[in-house]
């Protein structure tokens, strides 16, 4: 039953894609291909829901042998635990909603069927990645979603900026994938398998328990960090985050599905999947990368004016939070945030798509002119700060809440959620759980690293509230900044608003299984995480915080109960840590401060954002220029690559070509001359001599052929007589 359901889930979108592809090859579009893809996704979604009731508490992988090479066999299979099923539901649900939304959003696009074909292929790849029980399958799905991301970012490839952005996304994530592949190979050479779980043979997670000793730990840390590199690329963590904002060149539903809810979360999912192999040091690396990403992206988001890019940096920042959670061992918190973020960020993107759609009608002709200009001077890395499409520029918006009430309400819910407004919004609980997890580890381990990370994450959470409300105030409140465009704006059709409403409902935390049942997801054990010497852990307790009573603030509020499930071996987890209470109170304060500041700056106009930016010009410039990451890559890495390529080209041109030409010359002038001479004189001479001899002999012998029968007869008779005489003599 499980296998049947999982097969349907995987095959439905794949079949839809295959039908699209075949019809495309036959150039036989049928009018409503969008329905086909959407239907396939809904089928997958329903099967995911059914699967939700089916999974075993103690899952085993369902595998088949895929490739046998000598003594090594690569298996392929599914592993279904609670996390997989949650991911399946999130992916299929968001994908279904995005499909429905796209019916409205992409209406009238010349490549409308192709868009749905790509969406189907993407959904299949993502689901395949999620259910794979081995690193090879994950890697295959991983690269397939990368490919789909490339195809969909560059969907409007007539625009130079989109073509550049898709190349950038593909190449940047590839950098991380190389690291991931090396990490996989490290594990493979050691364990001779890529299966993660125990099937016919022991999987990596079992084998890894056997490691001990410093050398092994260093080796395992390096392998873990290398695999995490793949997640850094895919989940757009610093320093490989630069592709995600540029990826906003793709259609907005794509941004919602791929670059907010699912594909970028695949990195977090991978890191969570690899949880058992993380060591103390690789966890710390992950936590730091996540924390730095969270704050860097949040600060960049403050100063963006392009509505989609604000959301893109926000996504990067939230992914940083998830990585941070995994890095501090808050497995459940990270995945919880992944699911809540998938819903509210998809909602934000679809809402922004709705706004853009409202503005787009009158500006489509602008775009066409724009693309006809043919700006050919773009480098690989495109500088977007200066040229925001007018329909995405928040400075053109304002006062939209009366024009687009549904979009406004739903986006407001998502914004409240991501900002961490307490109690009724899902983002509050998940983000809070992450902050609590960080602080808890900091207090247990008495670790300065984790205290720093907690402060960083807290500030990032405050900034998140600030920039998200900035977006809301600039877009929906105040007076219309561009009267002409404001006149044109209209509420979107129902195919676009219904997904918004569904997602808004999901942003209120009544639907999340992680929320309902705190035992639903059990974090796997980490055998190689060790508290440092000075940690305040009871020596006899295997895991941390068994009897931890700092009791700052009391631990008896409703939230602390939630703190239990935060990601470490739950067995010894009896006492409540005060960390979550502290974290919750602090996070409510920073969210409140963020929202208040945003309100003062962008709604009441009590302070002028321009004045502040002028006062802190260097800081503002740093944020505006995105910490110069693009400039660094363009100026250093790209330039270095180009320089290196030139060097190699010169090397090729002079030395390699020189050698080849030299060999050619020697061959032609020496060997060829010699063999030519030999051929001409000896071989040809021999042949010619033979021919001449034959010719001359023929000239003489032909005279025998007189043509006179009697001569022949005479010779015959003479010959017979001669023979007779000879035999007589003998």
């Amino acid at each position: 039953m499980v296998v049947l359901l999982i097969s349907i889930i995987l095959l439905a979108p794949l079949t839809a894609f295959a039908i699209h592809a075949l019809l495309g090859l036959a150039k036989q579009g049928f009018p409503r291909q969008d329905i086909l893809s959407t239907f396939a996704m809904l089928v997958a979604f329903i099967c995911s829901i059914l699967l939700f009731w089916q999974i075993a508490p103690d899952p085993k992988p369902h595998t088949i042998d895929w490739i046998s090479l000598g003594s090594i066999t690569f298996s392929m299979g599914f592993y279904l635990d609670s996390v997989t099923v949650i991911m399946l539901i999130v992916v299929t649900l968001v994908s279904s909603l995005v499909h429905i939304f796209s019916i409205g959003y992409m209406h009238g696009d010349p490549r409308y069927p192709r868009f749905f074909a790509f969406l189907s292929l993407f959904s299949f790849s993502m689901l395949f990645l999620v259910v794979s029980d081995n690193l090879l399958g994950i890697y295959i799905g991983w690269e397939l979603v990368g490919l789909c991301s490339y195809l969909l970012i560059g969907f409007w490839f007539e625009k130079d900026s989109a073509a550049d952005a898709c190349k950038k996304a593909f190449l940047t994530t590839r950098v991380g994938d190389v690291g991931m592949f090396v990490g996989m190979m490290m594990l493979f050479t050691r364990f001779k398998t890529l299966s993660l779980y125990d099937g016919a043979d022991a999987g990596i997670f079992t084998l890894v328990e056997g490691l001990s000793g410093t050398g092994d730990m260093i080796w395992l840390s390096i392998a873990g960090v290398l695999i995490f590199c793949g997640a850094v690329g895919k989940s757009a963590q610093v320093p490989l985050h630069t592709w995600l904002p540029d990826a906003m060149e793709g259609p907005t539903p794509v941004s919602a599905l791929i670059h907010a809810a699912t594909m970028v979360a695949a990195g977090v999912y991978l890191t969570a999947r690899m949880f058992p192999i993380l060591t103390t040091s690789s966890s710390l690396v992950i936590a730091y990368v996540g924390g730095i990403t969270a704050i860097v992206a949040a600060t960049i988001a403050i100063v963006r004016f392009d509505i989609k890019r604000v959301l893109a940096y926000s996504t990067v920042s939230q992914l940083g939070f998830m990585m941070l959670a995994i890095g501090v061992g808050s497995y459940v918190a990270g995945l919880f945030h992944l699911t809540t973020h998938a819903f509210f960020k998809a909602l934000l993107f679809l809402g922004s798509g709705s706004v853009i759609h409202a503005f787009h009608a009158m500006h489509s002709h602008h775009d066409e002119e724009h693309s006809d200009d043919g700006e050919h001077d773009h480098g690989l890395i495109h500088e977007h700060g200066s040229e925001i499409p007018p329909d995405q520029d928040m400075r053109n918006m304002g006062g939209l809440r009366r024009k687009m009430p549904l979009t406004f309400i739903t986006m407001l819910i998502a914004t409240l959620s991501i900002s961490g407004v307490p109690f009724i919004f899902s983002g509050f609980w998940s983000k809070d759980k992450i902050l609590g997890g960080v602080l808890e580890r900091a207090m247990e381990w008495n670790s300065i690293h984790h205290y720093i990370l907690f402060v960083v994450a807290l500030i990032a959470a405050g900034i998140t509230a600030f920039y998200m409300f900035r977006l809301i105030f600039m877009t929906f409140f105040g007076v219309p900044q561009n009267q002409e465009m404001h006149e044109m704006a209209h509420e979107s059709p129902w195919v676009m608003t219904v997904p918004l409403l569904v997602l808004a409902f999901l942003s209120i935390p009544v639907v999340n299984p992680l929320w309902f049942n705190k035992d639903y997801v059990k974090p796997p054990e980490q055998h190689h995480i060790h508290a440092p010497e000075h940690a305040q852990v009871l020596p006899d307790s295997k895991t941390r915080n068994s009897d931890f009573s700092f009791a700052f603030l009391g631990v008896s509020d409703a939230h602390a109960a939630e703190g239990e499930e935060d990601g470490h071996a739950a067995d010894a987890h009896h006492a409540h840590s005060p960390a979550h209470s502290i974290a919750m109170i602090l996070s409510i304060i920073v969210a409140g401060v963020g929202i208040l500041l945003s309100w003062l700056f962008y709604h009441k106009r009590r302070f002028s954002a321009e004045a502040v930016s002028t006062a802190f010009r260097p800081v503002y410039n740093l944020f505006w220029n995105k910490y110069y990451f693009d400039e660094f890559y363009d100026g250093v890495l790209v330039a270095l690559t180009v320089w290196k390529s030139r060097l190699f080209a010169q090397f090729d041109g002079s030395i390699v070509d020189g050698i080849v030409n030299g060999v050619g010359t020697v061959t032609r002038d020496v060997f060829a001359a010699f063999t030519g001479f030999f051929d001409n004189s000896v071989v040809d001479g021999l042949v010619n001599r033979i021919a001449e001899i034959t010719w001359a002999a023929g000239g003489r012998i032909r005279r025998l052929q007189t043509g006179a029968i009697q001569t022949y007869l005479f010779v015959v008779v003479g010959g017979i007589v001669l023979i007779i005489l000879i035999f007589r003599v003998l």
Partner: protein, 102 residues
């Protein structure tokens, strides 16, 4: 009359035939030489049949009769060819019929 007499006669006939075939320039004369050769053979067959094999075995005579019949058929075909050659070339001298000579 012994076997030798017949064989000598036969050898003379054969030699005359060969001589005629080799020396005559006229195709008809050559045909005549060939007839002489054939007849010398027939004579040989009959002679050997008479003197060497038992009297009840008449294979030699029968072969001689066959030889005569073959000679008649051969003469007919030969003369037909001669006629055709004459029409084509206006001559029946073999050394002038040399179209196939390289």
């Amino acid at each position: 009359m012994t076997l030798q007499h017949y064989l000598v006669i036969s050898a003379i006939l054969f030699s005359l035939g060969i001589f005629a075939v080799l020396t005559r320039r006229n195709a008809i004369s050559i045909l005549m030489g060939i007839e002489l050769i054939l007849n010398s053979c027939n004579l040989n067959f009959v002679a050997f049949s008479r003197f060497v094999t038992p009297p009840e075995n008449i294979d030699g005579q029968i072969i001689a009769i066959f030889g005569i019949v073959l000679a008649a058929a051969e003469a007919a075909v030969f003369l037909a060819i001669i006629l055709a050659i004459y029409r084509e070339f206006g001559s029946i001298r073999p050394d002038e019929v040399d179209t196939l000579k390289g």
